[in-house]
Subunit: 318 residues, 4 copies
C-alpha cells in the first residue's frame, strides 16, 4: 500500500481551506466531486497528510489547522459538518531571512512544501524555498512570485536532487480557460476572429487586491489568452470590477465576434459564474501528488507534466 504524502503548507488562506476540507470530505465519503484525477501516480486525493503549517496572522497562529482555516478574512464555506482536528498547530511563519534555519528545522519530515501565501513577496517565497532545500523537501509554488522560473533557484534544486514545481496556479475552470478554448475552437474551424472582449467581476479580498494591482494581472490574462494565437491585437480585457455583493463568486462576460466563409458574421456571448477560491484546490492537489511522485522517484528539478497546471512555468518572463 502506498504511503501518504507528508505536506507542509505555507499560508492558511481560502485555497488551503478548500484543500484541507476537500481532502477530509474525500476521506469521509470516498467520493469527492470536481477532481481532475481520482488517482494520480497511485495517490488518491485522501492520501495527502498535513504535517506542518505556517501563517502570520495572530488569529491563525497557535490554532489547529482545521480551525485556523475558518478565521477571517477567510470566507470559503464549510464543505463538511464536522471537520476533525488535524493535529497540526499553525506556527508563526518567517518574516526575514534570519529565520530560514528555524523554519527548515520545523519542516523536518515533510516531503512537499506547498507555498500558498499571498502573492507579492518574492523574497519571502524564496526564503521558504531555501528552507525546503535545507530540509530536503520538494517545493510547490502556487503564487505568482518568481521561484521555479528563477533559473538560479531551479539550478540549486536540481543539483540537490529535489523537485521544484511552479509558478502560479491555473484555475481549474475560469475565464481564461474558457475564453482560450473558444478562441482555439474558432481557429481550428477556420473562422477569422473580428474582435473579442472579456469582463471580470469578483467580490473576494483576493479580487480586491487584484483590482488594485490591475494592470499586471490584465497583461498576464491577455498573455494567457493569446499565447498561441495570431490574434493578440483583437482581444480586449475590460478593467477588473470589484463588486462586494458578489461575495465569494467570480463572474465573467465574454464576447466573441468572428467571420466564417465569405465574411458572414458569427457572434458568441457567454456568462460564466464560479465560486472563487475552490478553483485552485483541484489543481493544487495534483501538483502535490506530482511533486511527491517526483521526489520518491528521484526526479530532480522541474516536472513537465505540471505545465498545463501553471501560468508561469520555467522559461516565462519574471
Amino acid at each position: 500500500m502506498i504511503e501518504r504524502v507528508k505536506v507542509a503548507v505555507v499560508g492558511v488562506g481560502n485555497n488551503v481551506s478548500a484543500l484541507v476540507q476537500g481532502i477530509a470530505l474525500q476521506r469521509a465519503t470516498g467520493n469527492l466531486v470536481g477532481v481532475r484525477r481520482t488517482v494520480l501516480h497511485g495517490l488518491g486525493v485522501g492520501d495527502v497528510d498535513f504535517t506542518a503549517a505556517f501563517a502570520l496572522s495572530r488569529e491563525k497562529v497557535g490554532r489547529d489547522l482545521s480551525e485556523a482555516i475558518f478565521m477571517p478574512p477567510n470566507n470559503f464555506p464549510r464543505l463538511i459538518d464536522e471537520l476533525p482536528l488535524s493535529g497540526v498547530t499553525v506556527r508563526r511563519g518567517l518574516t526575514d531571512a534570519t529565520e530560514v534555519e528555524r523554519v527548515a528545522g520545523e519542516l523536518a519530515g515533510a516531503e512537499v512544501v506547498l507555498y500558498a501565501a499571498p502573492s507579492g513577496r518574492r523574497e519571502t517565497a524564496q526564503a521558504y524555498a531555501e528552507a525546503a532545500l535545507r530540509a530536503g523537501a520538494a517545493f510547490v509554488n502556487i503564487t505568482s512570485d518568481a521561484v521555479a522560473r528563477d533559473p538560479q533557484i531551479m539550478r540549486r534544486f536540481t543539483e540537490a536532487g529535489l523537485p521544484l514545481l511552479g509558478d502560479d496556479l491555473t484555475s481549474q475552470f475560469g475565464t481564461s480557460i474558457v475564453h482560450h478554448a473558444l478562441l482555439h475552437l474558432l481557429q481550428e474551424r477556420g473562422l477569422t476572429l473580428t474582435s473579442s472582449y472579456q469582463v471580470n467581476l469578483g467580490g473576494t479580498e483576493d479580487f480586491r487586491n487584484l483590482v488594485e494591482n490591475g494592470n499586471t494581472k490584465m497583461q498576464s490574462k491577455l498573455n494567457a489568452l493569446t499565447a498561441h494565437e495570431s490574434a493578440a491585437d483583437k482581444v480586449e480585457i475590460a478593467p477588473l470590477g470589484y463588486l462586494p455583493h458578489l461575495e465569494s463568486h467570480k463572474v465573467a462576460h465574454i464576447n466573441i465576434e468572428a467571420q466564417t466563409w465569405g465574411g458572414t458574421p458569427v457572434s458568441l456571448d457567454l456568462k460564466l459564474k464560479v465560486h472563487d477560491p475552490s478553483g485552485g484546490a483541484g489543481v493544487t492537489v495534483d501538483l502535490i501528488r506530482m511533486a511527491a511522485n517526483a521526489l520518491r522517484h528521484r526526479h530532480a528539478g522541474y516536472v513537465a507534466e505540471a505545465t498545463p497546471l501553471l501560468k508561469s512555468p520555467p522559461g516565462t518572463s519574471i
Copy 2:
C-alpha cells in the same frame, strides 16, 4: 502548377451559392475569410472549377450557375458585387433511375461529383452515386441520406478505384460543436456535470423542414453531444423553434451547470448567433479537395481525413 479540380454539383441551394460565391471572391481578392485550410493537398480554394450543375426547379434549370444561385427560395446574401458568369448552364436533374445513363454522360470530365440536393431522398442520392461511378468520378455526399455509409455502395466505389466521401456535413461552427467543446473542457478539467440544455432557433426553409421532422434531428444532436461523455442523461435539448423573423440566422442558447472541487457550483450561459447557410461551404471545399487528391493518387473508397468533417461517416447507423 497544379491542375484545377473539375466539380459537377447536384443541387443549387444556399450551400452551393455560398460555395460558388466564396470561390469567386477568393479568386478576385486572393484573401477569402473563414477558410479552414488555405491550401490543402496543394489545392487552394480558388482551384475549384465547376463543370456541370443539376437542379429540378424551373427557375434554375437553363440558367448560368452564377445566376441560378440567386433564385428563390435561395436567400444567401451576395458576397461579391459582380459575379462573373460561370459558363455552366444548370441542367435538369434526374427524377428516376432510368435517367442514370443520361446523367452519367453529362458528368463526363468531372473529377468530383458534389451531392448537395435537399436531404430525404435516398434513392435519388444513390442514383447520382451510380452515375458518378459510371462516369469515373469521385463522389462527395454532404446530405444526411445514406450513401457512403451504405456498405454495398462503398464496396462498389472501392472496387472501381474511386473515392467516396460522406455522409452529412458537420457545420463549420454551430451549436453542437460549441456545446461539445465546452462539455469536453469541463470533463478535462475534472468538473462534474450537473445538467445542461440547448435551445435551437432558426428562420430558414431548411430549419422549418427540420422542425417538422424534429425528433430525429434532436436525437442526432443528442448523440453528437454525448458520444464520448458519461453524461448523456444530463443533457437536454429543447424543441427546435422556427422563428421566421430570424431569416437566414440560427440562434442557440446553451446552459451548463456543473460542480468543481467539493461540489461548489459553476454556471455557464452562452448565446451563439450564426448565419445559417454559410456554415457548410468552408467544410465542403475541404471535402472536394480531399476527394480530388484521393482520385489523383488512386486512393479508392473512404478517406479517413474526412471524418472530423462528417456527421455520419461509414460505420454509423443508417
Copy 3:
C-alpha cells in the same frame, strides 16, 4: 383592531403551499420577503386565516392543511422549519353538482372562497362558485377556467351583494411581465421594434401539462404581450420546452431587436430564472384581501383594483 380574514381554500397544490407557509413565516418573523403590499385595506399578510380546505387526492384528504401541502406531487420547498398545525382538516372536494349543497354547508363562516384547483374543469369551478354564493362568501378564482368572466355568474354574485374576483392570476414576476415592460419601454422612448422572441423552459409537472397543451398557452402569452402594441406581428414565441433537470425552476430567454433614430440598431438579450410555484402567492394574498375588503364594505361583483393582477378579467373572451 381589524379582524382576520376567514378563507376557505379549494385545491391544495404548490400555490397553496407557498401561501400557507408564507403567511406562517410572516407571523413568525414579522418580515416576509417578496410582498407587494405589506398592508392592504388595513390587512397584513398575517391577517389571513384558513377555516376550510378541499382536495381530491387520497394523500391530502383527512390531513391537517399544514401537512397536506407537502404531499406529492407538490414540491414547493419548506420555507419554515416548524410549521404549526392549522387546525383545518382537508375535506373531500366535490366531484359533481349534487354535492354543492354539502360543500356550501362546509363553507359556513368563510368570508372568502379561494379557488386554486388545477385548471381545465370549468364545471367544477362554477359548482364551487355556486356553493360560495349559497354560503354568502366572496369568490376568488385564480385558475384560467371561466368564472368571473362568465357574465351570468357575475350577475348572480352582483345581485347577491357578493364580490367575485377572477379569472387567472398573473405571475408576480415572470416572462410576460418582463417582456411586456421592455416592449413598452421601447415604444415609450420612440424606438421601432424590428423583431422579438421569447423562449420558455420549465421543469415542473404544471409546465409539462402546459407543453402538452402548448398552442393555447402560446397564443395567450402572445396576447398578453401585444395587447397594447401595434407590433403583434413582430413578436414570436418559441415552443415551450419541458426540461426535467430544471426541476421547480422556469427559465426564459428574451431577445429584442429595434431601431433608434435614423434606423441605427439596438439589441437586447435577457435571461430570466425564477422559482416556479412561488410566483402566485404574493398576488393571491392581495386578491384575498381585496375580496375581504369588498365583502366587508358591501361592494358586490367585480373590484376594479384587481385588474392588474388578473390575466382574464371580466370582458375578456372565454
Copy 4:
C-alpha cells in the same frame, strides 16, 4: 402652416451629425425611424432648420455643416447617400468671454441655440448662454455643464422672457433607462432586491473621455438608478471599460438578483448593445421643439415637460 424652427448649433460632433442627417432623412423619405413624437407642438422632425453653427476644430470651421459633420474624430455613419448642402458655413466658436458680443451678433435670427459642445467647460457654456440672451434666443443645453441648473442664469432668462432648457440629455434608450425600468418593475411587483450590477463598455472618443473621468460618471449613473429606490446600497456599477474594437457601439451587461414570496430567488441577466451617438438625437429634437414652442408662446424660463428628457434639470446639485 407652421413656420420652421431656426436653430443655431454650438459644437459639431457625432450628436449633431445624427441630428442633421436624421432631419434630412425625414424630409427625403417622410418616415424617419426611431422618433419619440412624430409631431410635437405642431412641429414635425423635418421642421427644424439650421441657421448657424459653431465649432473650434480647423477641419470643421469654414465648411458647410453637411460636410463638417463627417470630419474626424466624428464617426457617426452616413444615414443618407446624398446629403444636400445646408447653406450654413461653420463659424469659429468663442474661446473667451470677450467674444460673446461677436457671437451674439452671429446668432441673430436664431430662435433656439442648441449647446452641444464637449462637456467639461462650464465657462464656455455659460458664455454661449449669455450670447443667446443678448440675441433673444431660447437656449437648450444638452451637456452636463451647469447652465439651466445655475439659479442665477435661470433668473436672467426668466426676466428676459426667454426659455432655458437643460442640463444633460438622457439617452433615448441606454443602460440607465433599462436598468431603472427593471428595478422599478421589481419594486412594483413586490420583489426584494438582493443585489444588482451594471457593466458599461464602449469604443468612442466620448466614451474614452468618460473613462478618464470615471468616478463622477459612475456616481451620476448610480444616482440616476437609485433616485426613487430604497435600494441604493444594493446596486453596484463596475468600472467603465474603453474597448476600441467596439467602435461606435456601447454594450452593457446588467445583472439583477432578487427574492419573491418567502425568499425564493429570481435572477435576471441582460445584455444591451446600442449604437452610441444616435441615442441623443431623438431626444434633442424634442427639446428643440419644446424650446421653440415656449419661445413662440412667450413661456419664459424652464419648461416642465422637458424633465423626463434631462439628467440634471433645475434643482439638482451642480
